[in-house]
Subunit: 197 residues, 4 copies
């Protein structure tokens, strides 16, 4: 058991390190030796854990989507109004963008724009289903409680994903005049007004 666990732990450490490098330097500017070096690991051994750079990228997006989905799940399980849930989700998203910017950045800078890499194995956003699923649950709940207007799910999902991602992008470009958390009020209100019944 110990060995399997050790291997799993190492696997995750590779994911975390690669995630950080990919999101900071970009996918193509990050080399396998870069990742191995940072882990004090040999290049060859890294390939014992992931069969290719592309495969590693896919595992990272799954991992990231899972983590983000789990955060949102905690909100979905709260007994609060949809308006309050929206605010919580925005807080979580911006909180992650501030504290663990790698994950959000990875979505924006790697997943969004390297279709070739994710084409095979991530069809139809299966690799980010962890995240999508929770947004879907949030939305359906709100509609069934008649707090949110009933509409095509993707119209709502695109709003969340695009809006939040967009704000983080603007922050990353250093053009937002204020800190992300100072936008929570505005963004939450806008989303709520857009979706409310």
């Amino acid at each position: 058991m110990k060995i399997a666990e050790k291997k799993a732990r190492k696997r995750e450490s590779i994911i975390l390190t690669a995630l950080q490098l990919f999101s900071t330097k970009g996918f193509h500017k990050t080399t396998i030796p870069d990742i191995a070096d940072k882990l004090h690991m040999s290049v060859g051994n890294l390939y014992n854990y992931f069969s290719s750079k592309d495969m590693l990228a896919k595992e990272i997006i799954k991992f990231t989507s899972e983590v983000l989905g789990n955060e949102i799940k905690t909100v979905n399980m709260m007994d609060i109004s949809s308006e309050e849930k929206i605010r919580k989700i925005v807080e979580i998203y911006f909180g992650m963008a501030s504290e663990k910017p790698e994950m959000i950045e990875y979505f924006l800078r790697v997943y969004l724009s390297h279709r070739e890499v994710f084409a095979d194995g991530c069809e139809g956003m299966t690799c980010v289903s962890g995240f999508i699923t929770e947004i879907m649950i949030f939305f359906d709940d709100g509609v069934s409680k008649e707090e949110l207007r009933d509409q095509d799910f993707f119209s709502a999902f695109g709003l969340f994903m695009g809006y939040l991602g967009g704000m983080v992008f603007l922050k990353g470009e250093e053009i937002l005049p204020r800190e992300l958390d100072e936008y929570v009020d505005d963004i939450s209100r806008n989303i709520y007004y857009a979706l409310k019944a």
Copy 2:
């Protein structure tokens, strides 16, 4: 004059061809010889027009932002309500995404995710000012006419840019169940509700 004009024309044809290739195949998967081949031009000569691949990428984003900005300008000049303007902008954006997908795709797949490339020379979104400026005009107009709620401009800009970009991304991933133009109603309404006074 003729010569200068001829050169400008060729310059633009390079931009258009590169735009198409970059947005289709991705920035790194498109090589300079790819672009030159498609133009029936030598690589050496291409370098007479653009000093580097990165430089070319920057010129493309400026060009694209200009074109998109000009489209939105026509809306800004119309004497219609902000609600109607929002709808027009959404129509224009989705129309371009359907008819000239290269431009929108370029934003998403190239500009958004190759910070290294655009870092030097496009600080603070100067390279996309053509687009931003028109959104800003639209927003300020709406606010001054008291049709839109007054709030931080970036809260509104992020909504437009992120939401519309996000929808096009979802379309590109082939996960939207309907055509983009069938979402115009939903998206316009959501944006209007989010921003209205």
Copy 3:
């Protein structure tokens, strides 16, 4: 005694498995892990039996040559004419090529063309002496019985080895229009005519 025997048995199973993989996939395309996997054995342990991949290759050729030599020996011990012996040898060779193609293929695809590997330790065909020796006995016998013309042994040996190997190669390339055993008549006759007194 038991232990030594067990070890010898495992040693041979490694040889047989490696022989099969080398002759099928080629020497360089077969990795040590490939061999270990097929044997449900660890790579580390495999190195307890053979000190290197090259060493293993050399042991295989010796083993193969021994097996082939033993087959021919049975012919040499028969009380039949040289003409009949030739036919028997051709039958044996083609029979092996059909039933245990690995061995003949190993000669052709591995031994013949990886001089680097066999240079050290197999000088002057010492590694295939098992086969050569029997051909030599056959030839000397035939000459002394005045059934075969006296000539340089290698003129005769090259005929056997090259001709038979060549036919198997052609079969392997799938360009022989008929089955190997349908060529036994022709080839036996040609060899006999070439060598007879």
Copy 4:
């Protein structure tokens, strides 16, 4: 015209250099940088002439087969008996093996045993048709002139190819006690006796 010719010349110089290295050091032990270095050429430029190492190997075998075929063609055009032709062919083959050993060695050490490399594009010995065709012409001529026994072509072809190749191999292994040309008498006679009517 000059440029095209220059390029063709360079192409051939690559073929000749690679031929020499492949046949001397072996296909896998010869690296692309090895070839480029010997040509005082950059690795990248070499790829302007041949799209891959495998492709280069295939062009070499075609080239070699052509050269060898042309030599035999001169024999086929002579007005001499089949017996004399056989001797000429043996002389040519051994002559090449002595003077340009690369070509024959390439057949034996590269073509014969790297099926993976030649599988795609050289099916059914199409890459060595230059050589086969001439042997076929020689054989058919001999049969029609009733100097050679009528039999399956491949029975005769295998004899030539295998026997001659085998002798060169034995020479290469340094186990032949005499020079190749001292075997011309023996080998020619053996082949003639094998094939004559």
